[in-house]
Symmetry: D2
Amino acid sequence: MGVKGIRTAVKCDFDKPVDEQTGFHNRWHPDIPSVGTIANGEVVKIECFDWTGGQIGNNDSADDVRDVDLTKIHYLSGPFHIETAEPGDILVVEIQDVQPFQDQPWGFTGVFDKKNGGGFLDDLYPEPAKAIWDFEGIFCSSRHIPHVRFPGLIHPGILGNAPSAEVLAEWNRREGELIAANTLARDVAKPPEPMNAHAGSADGELKAKIAREGARTIPGRPEHGGNCDIKNLSRGSKVYLPVHVPGAKFSVGDLHFSEGDGEISFCGAIEMAGIITIKFSVLKDGMAQMGTQSPIYLPGPVEPHYGPSRYLTFEGFSVDEQGKQHYMDATVAYRQTCLRTIEYLRRYGYNDYQSYLLLSGAPVQGHIAGIVDIPNACTTLGLPMDIFDFDMRPEVKPEKLDMGSCAFTSDKK
Amino acid sequence: MGVKGIRTAVKCDFDKPVDEQTGFHNRWHPDIPSVGTIANGEVVKIECFDWTGGQIGNNDSADDVRDVDLTKIHYLSGPFHIETAEPGDILVVEIQDVQPFQDQPWGFTGVFDKKNGGGFLDDLYPEPAKAIWDFEGIFCSSRHIPHVRFPGLIHPGILGNAPSAEVLAEWNRREGELIAANTLARDVAKPPEPMNAHAGSADGELKAKIAREGARTIPGRPEHGGNCDIKNLSRGSKVYLPVHVPGAKFSVGDLHFSEGDGEISFCGAIEMAGIITIKFSVLKDGMAQMGTQSPIYLPGPVEPHYGPSRYLTFEGFSVDEQGKQHYMDATVAYRQTCLRTIEYLRRYGYNDYQSYLLLSGAPVQGHIAGIVDIPNACTTLGLPMDIFDFDMRPEVKPEKLDMGSCAFTSDKK
Amino acid sequence: MGVKGIRTAVKCDFDKPVDEQTGFHNRWHPDIPSVGTIANGEVVKIECFDWTGGQIGNNDSADDVRDVDLTKIHYLSGPFHIETAEPGDILVVEIQDVQPFQDQPWGFTGVFDKKNGGGFLDDLYPEPAKAIWDFEGIFCSSRHIPHVRFPGLIHPGILGNAPSAEVLAEWNRREGELIAANTLARDVAKPPEPMNAHAGSADGELKAKIAREGARTIPGRPEHGGNCDIKNLSRGSKVYLPVHVPGAKFSVGDLHFSEGDGEISFCGAIEMAGIITIKFSVLKDGMAQMGTQSPIYLPGPVEPHYGPSRYLTFEGFSVDEQGKQHYMDATVAYRQTCLRTIEYLRRYGYNDYQSYLLLSGAPVQGHIAGIVDIPNACTTLGLPMDIFDFDMRPEVKPEKLDMGSCAFTSDKK
Amino acid sequence: MGVKGIRTAVKCDFDKPVDEQTGFHNRWHPDIPSVGTIANGEVVKIECFDWTGGQIGNNDSADDVRDVDLTKIHYLSGPFHIETAEPGDILVVEIQDVQPFQDQPWGFTGVFDKKNGGGFLDDLYPEPAKAIWDFEGIFCSSRHIPHVRFPGLIHPGILGNAPSAEVLAEWNRREGELIAANTLARDVAKPPEPMNAHAGSADGELKAKIAREGARTIPGRPEHGGNCDIKNLSRGSKVYLPVHVPGAKFSVGDLHFSEGDGEISFCGAIEMAGIITIKFSVLKDGMAQMGTQSPIYLPGPVEPHYGPSRYLTFEGFSVDEQGKQHYMDATVAYRQTCLRTIEYLRRYGYNDYQSYLLLSGAPVQGHIAGIVDIPNACTTLGLPMDIFDFDMRPEVKPEKLDMGSCAFTSDKK
């Protein structure tokens, strides 16, 4: 009886610009042509670019982070036509494995410039910064954040089926309204943007239409998942995705070697190119049967586990750093929780940008603890002590270690 | 060598109104007299009333929930003077055990009337409802939510040290500003309220002052913790609490047999009276050494654990049920996540109020998944499948079971 | 609606000798009269003496261990008649909780004199020794083994249904043959022993018959479980026990606050008196349906968990300490594994008896790793590093700590 | 800054017989020439043949298992000279990853013929049998054992440093004595065997000497580990191995995709060829510092975890299937425990050989529960229910499923 490896449904060519490769796209639209067909029940490998399409280098400068072109990101692999999938079905996506490319055993975490992308804490940390992570099998470590080492909770940041025309129109409506009403001094959402739109193999008028109408890939969205950036949607997970168009038109990308809950520095996970192995199956009429319009998933049994008593846990409330009381705002509370953690890490000699990068990429646990005790939402952040090679318990006096620095831009050095 | 049990620092008298008992109080104020002294390093037991001070009965009507008097709640045990504790120190509180009273093996979860307390989902579920839980050793089950059974992740909802006068003034300032600016059709915070204030053994002018100035116990607050309602702050946990006044003046109460992340129905945990065993120690100059102003904790090693693949996980985004797009609002996202879970549970025959109560009391995991992908915050809710006695996996067709009902008010029957 | 506590099916009277109390017995025999009836589906509390019936004191001398009377041990609570249980059924025993008595918050671990009971390592460690453990809620620590503290994996050492006359005869046959063939210089099994037999409420000829025929309680046995000493058969476990006589005649006792796999020092667990809460139900015709003659169980979800990477793990093989090669002998291999662990603990200043006691009482994991690679069986022992308050990793140089000593006999001091 | 993959220290050539490839060997001897040098602190990949060197095919017949040549097995990769390692040091081996070859995504489990290798239960199951496992990313399943699927707890069966001449002489002495004293009707150990000895690049008299003296690779041994077959010595583990010769002369092989405790069918793990990634470092004078002569290890944090309550656990005692009582024999007890599990699995329609194969390859937990209660040793076997796609709980009536069969020999069909 013959045996062979699992077929690869789409491959990355690192010698050619990604926007010239038809197996990839960077907008959500029902009319992007399928890049191939996958049978119900089939297992395939899919190669993926890192989310910047190769704009970030393995070096010690954050200049590339500062200068990143955010219209040229999120090149997703796909869309794939899944046989038998029809609107109203659920596409069951089992993530059998995720691996970096053997000859690219590294990834990166970036703090974006407040003026070019920013991040969760950009009011306090507006400068670009970067950490490079080296992979050794299942582990990673960084020359930019010493004394830390942990196994990856490896996962795709983005997976989802194409929206129908109706779903797409709804996205554009509601996000357009938010943009129109915006009074903040920052972008609150990104409208369709023809510049640098990549519509896979579409060209001519079809490409123009997709570029004009296609939803940006930055946010996750309730109807299909998309860029949900859920760190536990890792190896062994089984995701139940609503189908909106015939054949589902499934896409995947934005692989992460690891991420902390929230992915707080925006380019916050440990970003990498790599290969995902997926088993696809179709649950007919699944949306009605399951009674839900949004993705549901079952995590796999192989997450790194440290034991609950190994998580040093910080509390944050919806009172901001100016002492202003916010009403039940979990976003404000989580920002405070992150700041409390960064303050604690100072005692070991980490600079704040190192800690900001670390919380983005390491598997920290961010929980909504209390959401009903007016006016304070309470969130927690659990930091796994076992990723550090020193004893982190509060009652143990820190010894001085050389913590070096993360990468900054060249004009900072 | 003699051996004796651990001493009980304060006892509940169930034959007398709690507001006549001097070992308890229901405001935060530095001048509430200490109820006793505890040595640095000592282990004591402390008895606690349930958070309504006995207003809720073990019966099949939610009338008592509807009629609850919210000025007569949160009778905390304490405050205790901890020897050697001074402002700037950290009080280390090790929770050695929490137990219900042997002769009161039950607790309750309530959905409050939208007009009297409300809850996280009160726009959709405005009616009062109740579930009674029976305890059998470490397990609980409810005649109001059949086919569910789980061990308690037992914990105090409230623990904290007294604020200093300065800290108290700051609380009243910032919460007062929020109240003053409120344009919502609901309370956003609770100002000091002399009615039914209980100041322990204080009387006369001291009592009047405490009643006038004392902060309400409803919210947790960053300076001392308080009503943080963190479900994992359970048996075996070690909490590091800032000290603001000489002797710390530690108080504890609002015991929960179990709770889901967020405690979403407000009276959402499985509320109970009981006994907490605590070991106290003082970390001198701990606030400066640890570099933090807020509580930090280490969970214990004995949380119930189900394995990651046993959590059916729902996703929610910051698009509300009217289709309105909110900007990076984790509170809106978590509300949607809860609604997705309630929708899913309908397939088994649970009514929505049962599910709302269940998510409040069972150990569901609420995570902040993505908080940077504009405009959508993404949160997740993990529902442990092993608490149900049937197979919950999406691909298994539900069989019809008799799910009965939770308790409603008498005029609803 | 009224609520009351759970009823207690049998109580310990600490003011009276246990052998004068009819709720207890220390032999297995079908004719021991039932001490009470429990309904199918009922939850009850059962009080239990410690396994020596109070012979060991909370003091700093091992004289009582040396002088223990081994004919006066294992006073089990029961037997209980379970309604509807018939031979061929399975009795489902759900352990809802196990607790020490509130006013006896301590237990003991003993190394028995090689000439009076002995233990797994008595060739090397023949002297009596003892450690007293103090309980603080779910945790224990010992003045005799400093720098160690852990939560109990609390469980009954003994539970089982009465044998039928046929099963009892088979026990006496096969163990009698072993005794008859014995050429070792030590007891290999214990035959029925009339002296100090306690047959519950039986008296006269019935008592004499039970004393003459009754099986000793020391070993576990495949037909009913008995003294299986399984550390994970703890709170939340559900045990499926074969029924051999009408009403099952269930008994329980020998409570342990904690134990290491193997219970190696014989009196090796942390022995205590206490209260077990059990729910009983009957699975009709269960033995045929389940296809098994021996107990099966499902552990509970609340075991202490440390994460796999927190277990320092020792390997042992079936080559004994004289360099003799044994053939596939897992018993020899496990003895070697224990010795390797004791050798390692010397670097911290523990004496060998302290370590021997510690491995007996702490939740160490003993695995059969390889049992097919002739001639060497391989076993492992996982020592949870988090029970120590210092950093145990091999690459961290030990600092000198005062480890004191366990208790020895008075003539040793 | 340049980046490259991790170097591969030795490669498998599948187009050439393994005994013609100098990077491999199948005896333990200090004089086998090193196949390469690895720096202290270096990370390398090492390719490994499956333990039969390719004798077993991916097909549906057990003829190859029946006819396997047991003198031509265990071709280990190495030995490697580790820079700076000297006798008395500890070689720290960190297993960064283990992977099957991408184009060989399958493995096998075999029950050997009782007359050619046998296994733990060969008195009852003397026939050859086989199961082929297909790998899909981190998961495996078998057409020969339907309705089972689980992630690999992937690991090397064999790793160790070369013995010194003195250690080798001791092995040959003690195993020779066992062989000389053997009265059983089966081999109890394997003496040095010149036939088919492979001594790497050695030839002439050196090769003859190694063939004459070299220890067989079948057993693990206390001085160096070797074929210890510890299932948890998996990805992320850190092993501390004694060094007996200059440069350590480290070898590794016999990769397993998964294994159950005991590896009971002898060829019991899921055997595969593949690639192991290891980081080597040297702990100078480690043997004296650690106070041990045998390997110690720390498991990694990424083992599959199911939660304790998901392990259906069987008990076994040292009474054999003929009713004979053995004295404290954990080997007999574990055999009984395996048989109890096989009996239980019959209710689902598995034949006994399927179950025997399953217990060998799936991650079952074999514990030594009680080893002191004369005359019965008690062991347990925990079967993870989540590897089955049906509900295994004893109280759930089994539905009939088509379980097919494992592979038998052609004359059996």
